[in-house]
């Protein structure tokens, strides 16, 4: 008996969201990730490369070393990511504004956002320091400073979505909505944002990322459930493209950072940390991430190869 592959086609699809002001789009697929034998994925998943504005000091040397020339200069960092590592997007984190750290004023950070957005030709994601109160001010200032660039502002969460959503609306930016690893909470925030007037076609969902070993399975299943609800149940509030915030979470893991001298059973830390980031990113890509935010140049290169191969 010959085998007939059971095909599962869908009338529904993920919303196609335009990033920046050129022709970069994300989403639009009517299939589970890379199930290209039964439908279409008109846009490749995108790699956003992380850039920080606070000259990170406490990173593992494994990831700090290849970035050492640019760590202190977000504009140079963003350009390098675009020109040398083939970044599809820049994910700028305005970490300098963190009240628990440097606590720089919103206005100063917004100028960095402007400088970065002007220095590169690819779209930019602007994330605050993830301090709920401060981010309201920071993202508003960033929205003003980058007006006309259609950046992705975020993360908006249940406590600051009004400020962030209003800033995006007022200055024609896109929003990344973040909720803690739960499909229903994510849908709820999407509804709140759209009630505020934000077009559902201008929202990306950041369902919160658990790195390999640190909750990866939760994010993995939430992403799968998102895609299934979007495609098979035509649930409008789950049809936003998904962001996986990989770099920051993967490099928090002890196993990614610990020197082999401290943990000989875990092997060469120079390769182990990079693989930690690669595995977090590639498993979330097959779960449903449309954007992966990444850090290490070798991990970025490998994940690009993964996406190239899967898209064929």
């Amino acid at each position: 008996m010959a085998f007939e592959m059971p095909k599962e086609t869908s009338e529904s699809k993920i919303r196609e969201v335009t990033l920046g002001t050129g022709d970069v789009k994300v989403g639009g697929e009517n299939i589970l990730p890379f199930y290209l034998f039964e439908g279409e994925m008109p846009n490749r998943p995108l790699i956003a490369v992380e850039v920080y504005d606070d000259n990170p000091q406490e990173w593992s040397p494994v990831v700090a070393e290849p970035l050492k020339d640019v760590l202190a200069d977000p504009v140079a960092w963003a350009k390098k990511a675009q020109d040398e590592w083939g970044a599809d997007l820049i994910a700028l984190r305005l970490k300098s504004t963190d009240p628990k750290g440097d606590d720089k004023p919103a206005e100063e950070a917004a100028q960095t956002a402007k400088a970065v957005a002007e220095a590169v030709s690819i779209p930019v994601i602007v994330y605050g320091s993830e301090d709920v109160d401060k981010d309201g001010d920071v993202l508003k200032a960033a929205a003003v400073a980058t007006e006309g660039k259609n950046v992705v502002l975020g993360p908006a969460n249940e406590d600051n979505y009004k400020t962030v959503g209003a800033a995006a609306l007022g200055y024609k930016q896109t929003v990344a909505a973040k909720t803690p690893i739960d499909v229903n909470l994510a849908k709820q925030l999407n509804i709140l944002l759209s009630n505020l007037g934000v077009d559902v076609g201008n929202i990306l969902v950041d369902p919160t990322t658990g790195a390999l070993g640190y909750g990866l399975e939760y994010t993995y299943s939430v992403m799968e459930r998102f895609k299934i609800a979007a495609l098979r149940q035509d649930d409008s509030m789950t049809q936003m493209p998904l962001i996986a915030d990989v770099g920051v979470e993967a490099w928090k893991a002890k196993e990614a950072k610990a020197p082999a001298a401290d943990e000989p059973a875990w092997g060469d830390e120079n390769k182990r940390g990079v693989l930690w980031e690669i595995l977090t990113a590639s498993s979330l890509l097959v779960a449903g991430a449309d954007v992966v935010i990444m850090r290490h140049p070798d991990a970025i290169k490998t994940v690009r190869k993964v996406i190239d191969s899967l898209m064929g």
């Binding site: 592959m5 034998f37 070993g213 299943s221 092997g267 498993s283």
Partner: protein, 449 residues
């Protein structure tokens, strides 16, 4: 696919003899369908009925046992396409590829490293399961000798690889008593290779050239009454292999296509020479249904992260992973170091211990048995409440290790501090931050004071 009571009734003698201790055949059929009776209890059931019912009761994907002794492992028996629907059952078996053409010291080093690949994480033992041994020499005698040598060094399960049946016979003579997985039956050698596997009752990989030829070959092997099969679609690039893995799993579960009702094997080591890319391929196949994944590098930097991914993907979504309840030393705490408590949900433990580590303040972290629940859930369920926490503190022996009596509890359960104070009169209860991200600042302030 399960039969209904009525379907089963049609296959029974319908004599209502009652010898099965159930008054009627219909009632017996209903009990059978509900799993409360066994078919053997009916003395008059026909052989055809037995076959039909056994067939219907068979799981959609067979479970195959490979190897023997401490390192034997099971693969297959999967029931769902998405882990949140139930759970994935038998964790992916990782294999390391070696060859009889390798230099002696290289072979020894790889076999030793693969055998040593074993880590304890969150109460589970994670380990490489299998050595894939390729016959590149074409010489059966040499191959047999290498297999014997490997079996003498390692208790890992073995997978001798040759499509030449005479070479495989030599391999089976050498290590056939260790339940090796034979690789592989192909369109060219199925009759002889299948007969060998059947005669020796050994598991066998069927290697196709794409899913269509795999389906044909697997069906033929089933026709030879081979039951312990593992499927290799023969694809050797990411896009085709992923599609094949999806086709096989969907075929088995959704289409009930029996030739695909077996575990799968894939070969990232034959798909690329780029180590990071090989790791990425292995990671994707682990997530997307592969039963056995063969890689080239036994080094811990490669295998440990892959094992952690297997642990994550194969965790039962209904049963959160829990760490042991006890005091953990974060850094090198002494008598003056802070004492904190939280729940035993593995993520809670990982995140809290990670933040304490990042603070560089050596601390004692007490993990209370909360049945794997996070702080708020455990509190709501009565698993992280004053009497349980007090009992933990009093039996943990922490009072002998520190010369202060200050106990930090998570900010989310600030409301229990009064009651906990009463339960632990010697201790001063301090309310810590709600979010783990604020632990670092909190601890630094605490020691500064």
């Amino acid at each position: 696919m399960a039969l209904s009571g009525l379907d089963i009734f049609k296959l029974l003698p319908k004599t209502n003899c009652g010898e099965c201790k159930v008054p009627t055949c219909l009632a017996f059929a209903m009990k059978l369908a509900g799993g409360q009776a066994k078919l053997e209890e009916c003395p008059y059931v026909s052989d055809e009925t037995k076959d039909a019912l056994a067939d219907a009761a068979a799981p959609p994907i067979a479970e195959v046992l490979v190897g023997q002794g401490a390192k034997e492992f099971k693969t297959g028996a999967e029931l769902v396409l998405f882990r949140h629907e139930k759970r994935f059952v038998n964790p992916t078996g990782m294999a390391i590829m070696v060859s009889d053409a390798m230099a002696d010291d290289e072979l020894t080093a790889k076999v030793e490293a693969a055998t040593k690949d074993s880590w304890e994480r969150v109460g589970q033992q994670l380990e490489v399961k299998l050595l894939a041994v390729k016959c590149e020499s074409g010489d059966g005698a040499k191959f047999a000798e290498v297999l014997k040598k490997i079996a003498g060094m390692s208790d890992l399960a073995l997978m001798p690889m040759s499509e030449d049946v005479d070479v495989m016979k030599a391999a089976v003579d050498a290590v056939g008593d260790k339940n090796p997985l034979l690789y592989a039956a192909t369109a060219a050698n199925l009759d002889a290779m299948g007969a060998l596997a059947k005669e020796k009752n050994l598991p066998l990989v069927v290697k196709g050239d794409g899913v269509d030829s795999l389906a044909e070959l697997s069906e033929k092997a089933m026709g030879m009454e081979l039951k312990n099969l593992v499927l290799d679609p023969g694809t050797r690039d990411l896009k085709s292999t992923l599609e094949a893995l999806i086709a096989i799993r969907r075929g088995a579960l959704n289409s009930k296509f029996k030739p695909f009702g077996f575990p799968t094997i894939v070969f990232p080591c034959e798909e690329t020479d780029d180590a990071y890319f090989e790791g990425a391929l292995a990671g994707i196949y682990i997530a997307k249904y592969a039963g056995i994944v063969v890689t080239s590098d036994p080094d811990a930097w490669m295998q440990y992260p892959l094992q952690v991914e297997i642990q994550n993907i194969y965790t039962d979504p209904q049963k959160p992973m829990a760490v042991d309840a006890k005091f953990y030393e974060i850094g090198s705490p002494g008598p003056d170091s802070p004492v904190l408590v939280t729940t035993n949900f593995s993520l809670t433990y990982f995140i809290v211990s990670g933040e304490i580590e990042a603070s560089k303040v050596d601390s004692w972290l007490g993990i209370v048995d909360s049945e794997g629940q996070s702080v708020l859930t455990a509190w709501a369920a009565g698993k992280f409440v004053p009497d349980i926490i007090a009992k933990f503190i009093n039996t943990s022996g922490i009072a002998d290790k520190v010369n202060h009596r200050k106990l930090v509890i998570p900010g989310y359960v600030a409301q229990i501090s009064g009651e906990l104070d009463e339960e632990l009169p010697e201790w001063e209860i301090l309310v810590g931050p709600r979010e783990a991200a604020d632990i670092s600042t909190y601890l630094r302030n605490m020691v500064a004071q």
